[in-house]
Amino acid sequence: MQWIFRFLLQHRTITTLAITVMLSLWMINAPRPMQLSVARALTFTVFYPFQLVLLQANRVRNIFAENKRLTRQVTALTTEVMGLREAARENVRLHELVNFESTFPYALVPARVVGRDPAYPCRSIVVTGGTDKKLQAYMPIVNVSGVVGRTIAVFSHLSLVQLVTDPSSRISVMIARGRVVGIFETENGRDFFMRCRTHADVAPGDTVVTSGLGGIYPPGLLLGRVAQITDRNDPLFKKVFIKPAVDFDYLEDVCALRLAPQWASFRQELDSLGRKP
């Protein structure tokens, strides 16, 4: 018996390898239920500390995975919330437009701003709607605040609008309180003014509306309020500075006033006058 132990001790490396190999082969060839019971026994004895560590590690891994999933979800929800907020803002704007349309005596064609003149101040915009919505050149464009400008070129689905900020734009206006008529104009697109006689009844805060003269804008459309009056070195006229009611930096939804019949007949009249020898 002793020689066996001596032999095993002498060849302990090979013996260990043989034992481990035999144990492994026994486990491999053992029936499945026995494999499971051995695995269960080992899991709850020798490998129990590892089991605990692995459990914690898996929890940590799950926390990381959940964190990643939640981050993705938060990003998606934030994007959705942003979209919904934008939709809510649009809803408010459109509600205002609907109210505006219901209280406005003219036929309105809603249009959305899709392009802007890159120069500052902006002088023209491109809006949706063209001949497809029966728009024509020289139709007034307004929004809920007041007069925006007029169409100057109409294409099939888009229209080019000249804003009142364009220095070449002129609008016949009237001080609503004193019925003083003048020409609304600008030299730089930022400062708007009209000239009127020195003795005219104009005061800061007076409302300025379109006069209806000129054939494009109907009377009574709001343009702005009198901001300042200067009469420097001019005995005849004073300069009335007007703050426009429309914020031209934030134009999104506008409406075209479908006044084509009046304008068309007026233009035909003008054309016929022009053709007379």
Binding site: L25, V38, A39
Partner: protein, 165 residues
């Protein structure tokens, strides 16, 4: 001595946990290293056949418990591999880094051939699949593991000059 044992135990425990729970984090193009086998390689190179065979058996058994495979196949593979690497340990011969890398490649081959053979024989699958298994699974895994072992030796060489004596 106790510090050494604890250190190696911690290394095996860490590699075991990482291999079992987080290995996909280290995967590059679906290829991940075998951290337990790397730890076994480092251990066997240091301590020789006998400890490496025993440790290999238990680490393999641990892997078997957490894999849905045959119980004992990794134990067999790891104990044989531990014995094989132990034959070339630093007490027997002084090996240069290139030779160590060759042993590492051979060790991975021995391990994967042993484990695959068990599976093939047990499930009566054609031996032809062994070749593709080695070509498409073992070699990429070995290359990835080689990089990690190389980093370990570089770290030892540059930051622990006393340990390579």
């Amino acid at each position: 001595m106790i510090t050494d044992i604890l250190r190696w135990f911690a290394l095996f425990a860490a590699s075991f946990v990482l291999q079992t729970a987080f290995i996909q984090t280290f995967a590059i193009g679906g290829v991940h290293p075998d951290l337990v086998l790397i730890a076994l390689f480092l251990f066997a190179m240091r301590f020789g056949c006998l400890p490496a065979t025993i440790v290999g058996f238990f680490t393999g058994l641990g892997q078997d418990l957490y894999a849905t495979q045959l119980l004992g196949q990794n134990a067999l593979g790891a104990s044989v591999t531990g014995f094989f690497i132990g034959l070339f340990n630093v007490r027997v011969m002084r090996t240069d880094p290139v030779f160590k890398m060759v042993i590492l490649v051979l060790a991975f081959m021995v391990h994967d051939i042993t484990v695959s053979e068990v599976v093939l024989i047990k499930n009566h699958i054609s031996q032809v699949t062994l070749f593709s298994e080695i070509l498409f699974k073992t070699l990429p895994l070995t290359l990835y593991s080689m990089v990690i072992v190389a980093l370990v030796y570089i770290w030892e060489y540059f930051f622990k000059p006393s340990s390579i004596q």
